[in-house]
Amino acid sequence: MTPRLLRRRPCQRSGAFVASLSVLFSRPAYGHGFGLRYDLPLPLVLWIIGAASTVLLSFLIVAIAVRSNASVEAPTQLNLLRWQITNAVTGGKPRLIARLLAVAALILIVVAGIIGDQTPTRNLAPTAIWIAWWVGFCYLSAFVGNVWSVVNPWAAIFDWCEQLLSKPPASRRARVNWPKSLGVWPATALFLVFAWLELVWEGRSIPSQLAWLAIGFSVLTWTGMFVFGRSTWLTHADPFALAFGILSKFAPTEICVEHAGCDTRAAYGGTVVTDRGEALDCDRCYRAAESRRRWILRPPGVGLLHTENISHSLMVFVIVMLSTVTFDGLMATPFWQRIEDALYVALPALGDSRLAIINTLGLLSFCALFIAVYRLVATLIGHASKKRMTPDAASRAFVLTLVPIAIAYLIAHYLSYFLIQGQLLIRLASDPFGFGWNIFGTAHFRPDIGIVGARFVWYTSLLAIVIGHVAAVSLAHIIALRSFDDPRLAIRSQIPMLVLMVAYTMMSLWIIAQPIVE
């Protein structure tokens, strides 16, 4: 322990630390998944700079767009697998090791949750699930690539079982065909459930409850994969594969696998199918044909221009995802606190679970509000395009352009939380079950809350939000130019989207300018 850390705890009461932590978490703490946030509100002057540059840059992009009517060229791509070193890194063996590690981590988390100490900060499960896995993989997906599709432990276990049990390993075909009308609605519903668990559920920081949830999710996932086929389940019903997949469309890398020797190819009448990394689903094709694998380096964000496969339900999934992330921030503001207080006093009939009910309703109405507003914007785009695009087509074409704003907000809202609360993992690595072990000698590590200063957090947040906004406006502009042959019409049709994006960015800025209330 450093002297500085020692000075932070001048009280005589260190012996009571463990006992008091259990007391701390016995009361419900409403807000994001787990742990406290110590962010200072964004100062007014930075808020004004952010707001002004948001509006100014929006106009600048549109002004430049009016003048250039050049067609949008395909972005430059580089296949990283042209070098031996990258081939070695992404080959079968490293992938197997990564998957084994992920499976080991999943098992460790579940076991820790069930048999370990139930104090949230002394058990690996809450920190590993909410901070390392959920926030960590959001960041990895957005800034590296779809790492989750490579390491997904549920998919890995299913693959291995399938290889062991079926000889020859051929049965990739679904036992029941996925109903077309179902789209990705199951994933959307499951994502809403997940958001509720993260934001409202009282048991979210209790290790054993999290472990049982993980077990339940495993049973659901494997049953679904068995019945509907692995890749169908991952692309239609698994909320995490889908969410990380959407975030990774922004990422600078993408792994593509061509299905050359499997049933997927047969299902498409013998033609080679390229899996664009949504669910790197064909273990056999991945391992078999190194030449059919590409690991593309591309400019960040261009993946969001692939809007061909966006169904109506996927559009709703994206909006639900964005709205729950924003609602997380809203819940910690004094504004929401006042609403909560007012409703708490006004609705005594609901009893002890009032707060949970109020927050559940808040979450659902916030989602509904986002969907309604987006729907309205899509209608306006349809109207502005002189009926060349139906509102439904517009809502599907432009929905991914909102993703950069959400990613920027993920940085602004979670970065310091991730860096501060994430340090708990250093301690938990030595004592994952809270049994008093000290495997790596780090069991007494105390998180340094000064690891990032307020200025660093402010400037990073502001920069992220402004850059995210610029990316979103530019992407929407490219899609508009692609959709309408007339540049003037493209600009006109973009105005509703631009207004929505400015409003969404302002909201992100407003939330981080609010003092955090727990």
Partner: protein
Amino acid sequence: MRFAYSRRTFLTAVLLVTAIGKVLAEDRILELAIHNAESPAKPPVLSVLQNDQVVVRLTSDKPLHVHLHGYDIESDVAPNLVTTLRFTATATGRSPIEIHSNEPRKQRPLAYLEVRPR
């Protein structure tokens, strides 16, 4: 009128931020009086600058346990005795000072400590 308003606001918690002289300009003293183990309706915010010496002096009419999050300082508070928390505000951020109790109801923090960058 102003006096009545102050009294009502600080009925359950009294916050006094005092700067004592030029020599101790960087010592920030926060006095927190807790009545009946309750938090005030609107928790006061103690704003200090980074690296200030902070002294929190707590009094309570009931025995309780308080915890300053972030800096992770906790202490028992005995009735009718002044309990002092003393530390250097090295890290910026906003951390709540809370009463720890077994009561399941959501309780507001006693106060917030806001450490602003210099």
